[in-house]
Point group: C2
Amino acid sequence: MSHAAAAANDRTASPAAGPSTRKPPRRTAERILDHTLELFNRYGEPNVSTTLISAELSISPGNLYYHYPAKEALVNALVERYERALQEALTAAGPADDAEGAWLLVPRLFRLCWDYRFLFRDLNDLLTRNRQLETRCQVALTQQTAAVRQRVVRLCAVDGTALNDEEADALATSIVVLLNYWLSFEYVRDPRRALEPENAEAAMRRGARQVQALIWPYLSAELRQRMRPTLSEDALKRGNVAVRG
Amino acid sequence: MSHAAAAANDRTASPAAGPSTRKPPRRTAERILDHTLELFNRYGEPNVSTTLISAELSISPGNLYYHYPAKEALVNALVERYERALQEALTAAGPADDAEGAWLLVPRLFRLCWDYRFLFRDLNDLLTRNRQLETRCQVALTQQTAAVRQRVVRLCAVDGTALNDEEADALATSIVVLLNYWLSFEYVRDPRRALEPENAEAAMRRGARQVQALIWPYLSAELRQRMRPTLSEDALKRGNVAVRG
């Protein structure tokens, strides 16, 4: 099917389909992305073909091709979504000088890793095949590291031992490694269960706790104690973790 | 080619080949593994076919099939090698009560991750396709965690702040995550250079330093100072790191 034919197909519902399937191109593009993300997350990006995607969506391969001329275009569009969601998470976590609000960032970033887990699952493989991802991943890591660094520095300055530059760099880097690889680690520890949707909250909670533990030695006994029991399921579901008990 | 024919082929050098190619089956099997490991590490396991392996080795597909009837058999044999190397690394690092010798373990485990980097590169994908790996990876992680835990507990008890159980568990887990994912993280930060063989030493050195940084807050200022400048290129090449400056 030509681009033009696919476009026409997209704008005009086939006679057999009801009016509810008449969707403007923009919405179709978003719907394709939603389903693709789900399929990538469930089966892994290398195992999902564009044929499978169009079959799952009940659209013609030509229609899919009109919106995304290759699987790489789908990956890139999903990475753009991820980048926007990362910005939102960084903004939503509040300013860096809100010491206790700093904790909001950790579950938000874990949630992001969960929502886009296909990216982290086979990142090395994706990077090998898609050079556009290279710079974008570097930017995302740099942003995460900077945001985490600001917050741990602030948290420790307000409550515990002030971090020197070397400690702050090392701590932020270790936290970013934990954030981005924790779910993979959970998967290796328990491939049949850890990343089933019903267990994801628990996996993220363990990850958030693991991040907390990195900061323990720098915090006052009092704040440490207060942080302990607060990683409730509810807080994680809301995408935030209260610091006060 | 039948198994028997392949076996015969393996034992009898073809008339064109010189006497140096006359290798007993055991050695051929090992040679196949050496080359396969190299190819897997260079291109990623999913991108290496048995056809490529036999072509690279200049052996017939039947001969390869005689030794390893599927790619999975090659992966499993390499995992066995990895497991043996892990045991050797754990043994070579000395007993857990040798506090300063504890550091020997970190560069040895990084070296292992480097030598078998194909495993860690696409571990999630491998686990999905090869259920035999599941238990074996869990055992390897458990062994690593136990060995690391014993050593950090000892190191901190001798020199710094004694760790409680919760701290020791968290610290050992974070170190194991860093050990197993650091090279992937390096790759994401710099896909074109980080894991080129000439840069691998530096990548492992940064990883070992990152692990050290996790333990810093628990150590006395004096030991911390002594540990600092000792992660020399030489030490990493020898697979060990001196604690004394």
